[in-house]
Subunit: 85 residues, 2 copies
Amino acid sequence: MTRFRVAVHIVPRKGLLDPQGKAVADALHALGFAGVADVRVGRHLVVDADATDARSAEQSVREMCARLLANPVTEDYEVAGVSVA
Amino acid sequence: MTRFRVAVHIVPRKGLLDPQGKAVADALHALGFAGVADVRVGRHLVVDADATDARSAEQSVREMCARLLANPVTEDYEVAGVSVA
């Protein structure tokens, strides 16, 4: 078994309202960042897990997302990277 | 002006306790994911902003992180990518 570090992004599904992102965009405008058109806020998780190889580590994290980490109704997830921890 | 999409990760600073990550790791163990050693939970922001070039878009988002998005005491941020939106 090797320890792998898997990074995953969980983001609000496209087309769904993202009130937290809207609030951040408004706050940035208030601070003078006039060029900001849109902000979306999601989660960035880094999971350190033992697995036989990188492929099974990634597969395992995808299962974690489907079962616990992401809300399948409102969120999408993508594995951003797998490396040896 | 071109619209750029800048992705940024804001994560709890290394060495600091991450109670949310600990709770997620415990929940994953309870679900049977025994191989999970550690989880860290941060934020993944995607900022769409108008700028003259990619470099100034990134610089602008770094300033947003320093002034509003990240807590300088407990969090680190890194720009994960800049692309044309």
